[in-house]
Symmetry: C2
Subunit: 300 residues, 2 copies
């Protein structure tokens, strides 16, 4: 299972009830947070996210609409006497800024807190079940997108069938790896007789803020779900590129060329109240496009 | 006219739909903002406050629930190409923190921006119509409350009556000051024949975060409206004092002894969903008490 809950789908200035960027990634083990615009902790309450389960926070870049909510969230974790470890990944300069605010506001972090400065593209986090890595995007300041890929999971043993064949427990590991096994009496058990495949591993990519940039395609090739910013309608392509942002059709073009299964667009300009036209434009280029809606969880 | 619109009535951790401290003071000329917790700019949108009219922001202290929303608000002002001057008053350390965020997040302030470090109690701002001053409260860190007092306004000339007595325009200023005037023909015009008093000047005090502290009484004596924090019900008086906060009855005791006309309590602990019991407790000590409600404008 992999889920993406949109807490904020707006660009820099909050407007029309929309909030700055933040999204919760639900894995089978824990919750990750991609970006943390102002008010993220309030959106976490609004959408009844179990905040204590968030244990990795990734910040794409230091424009305020992607991180101004982080200090408030950390502060609340401290006041709530959180005990679970927390890892924050972001541009190196963020660490000093947070430390300064901890000091000025007398925030004493009672839980194991680890800041990881993102200094290059590549692997950020590996757990038994998934990998998170990052890649550079083209924005006005240093900016990185994130991608989470579930690992291939072992085959599942069908307990009833395994028992009926008297398979001893010490052979289970081989079966989970997809191998056939031989019992002590010489009987060969074909793997597919007693196991089934686990669901295929899923992947989700978040491109943060970026110009239209075909070099991203290689990074996000074939992901199950792509969130690509589409700050402007395509008629404003010049404005988009001047501001290092993308349009609806540019986002869809990337999705199409990368062969992703589904595209979510977001980071909508505050100038536009209605986002349905954004969705329509994207669909003209890539039919599996959807305008992200706050509070919605997209299952990957 | 003086109005106080509550944008946040909660203490440190947002909860129950309540937000951290922020309030808009409406004067006849402009809007002031007292404190700016996270999400203030979103509350400003929710309650349709004309943000361009906010030209003075006062920050009581550097606990996050009183200032984490400031950088986002300033950032949005910048993105909106605000032109009106803006004055921010707060603890000296806030200036460096904001400057650092302006730099890291590439926020270019296009409007005249003035930071005023609050280093002592007393006058902060004087306009033709009102005065804002500050006073120290007893909190864990340096903290100041704010008080706005309208100036006494001149008497209003009743135009019809003045015309019927052939009073020349050059005598108006004397009449506005309450003086009698003598016409060229020697006729004496009694002031009250052609003028009426303007509404009496109003005053509002905000005590920010504080222990129960009778030395505040002198500062806020007789104000029309007092906002005093009441983080805890009175049964938790020990907890309140350990955390440098006040209870319902302590707030009401201050209001009563200071002879204020009305008390608003707020800064409610996140532990409590219902604030009506807070109001009841305060009323037992001071009947003109009310639990502050977000979005409500209290006319002074």
């Amino acid at each position: 299972m992999l889920g993406v809950t949109i807490l904020g789908n707006n660009s820099a200035i909050p407007a029309h009830g929309r909030h700055p960027t933040a999204q919760i990634i639900s894995t089978q083990d824990d919750l990750l947070l991609f970006d943390c615009g102002e008010g993220t902790q309030i959106q976490i309450l609004n959408y009844k996210i179990r905040r204590s389960r968030i244990n990795h926070i990734f910040i794409s870049h230091l424009h305020g609409d992607h991180y101004f909510g982080l200090i408030g969230l950390l502060s609340s974790f401290a006041l709530l006497n959180r005990v679970q470890p927390l890892h924050v990944y972001g541009p190196a300069a963020l660490q000093g800024l947070l430390d300064q605010q901890f000091q000025l506001s007398e925030i004493h972090i009672p839980f194991p807190y680890h800041f990881h400065a993102i200094e290059k593209d590549g692997l950020l986090l590996e757990t038994p079940n998934y990998i998170v890595s990052c890649f550079s995007t083209k924005h006005r300041i240093e900016c990185r997108g994130f991608i989470i890929r579930q690992k291939k999971r072992n085959r599942k043993i069908l307990k009833n069938r395994a028992d009926s064949r008297d398979i001893p427990f010490n052979l289970y590991a081989l079966l989970q790896e997809g191998k056939d096994v031989t019992l002590e009496n010489g009987t060969v058990i074909k793997n597919e007789e007693v196991t089934i495949a686990s669901p295929p591993p899923k992947s989700y990519a978040f491109t943060a803020d970026t110009l239209f940039d075909p070099s991203l395609i290689e990074q996000i090739q074939g992901v199950d779900l792509l969130y690509h910013e589409a700050t402007y309608p395509h008629a404003l392509a010049d404005k988009a590129s001047a501001r290092f942002h993308s349009t609806t059709k540019e986002a869809a073009e990337i999705a199409k060329r990368a062969g992703v299964k589904k595209l979510l667009i977001g980071h909508f300009s505050a100038k536009f109240d209605d986002t349905s036209a954004f969705e329509e434009e994207a669909k003209e280029v890539f039919p599996y496009s959807e305008a992200a809606i706050e509070g919605t969880t997209y299952l990957v």
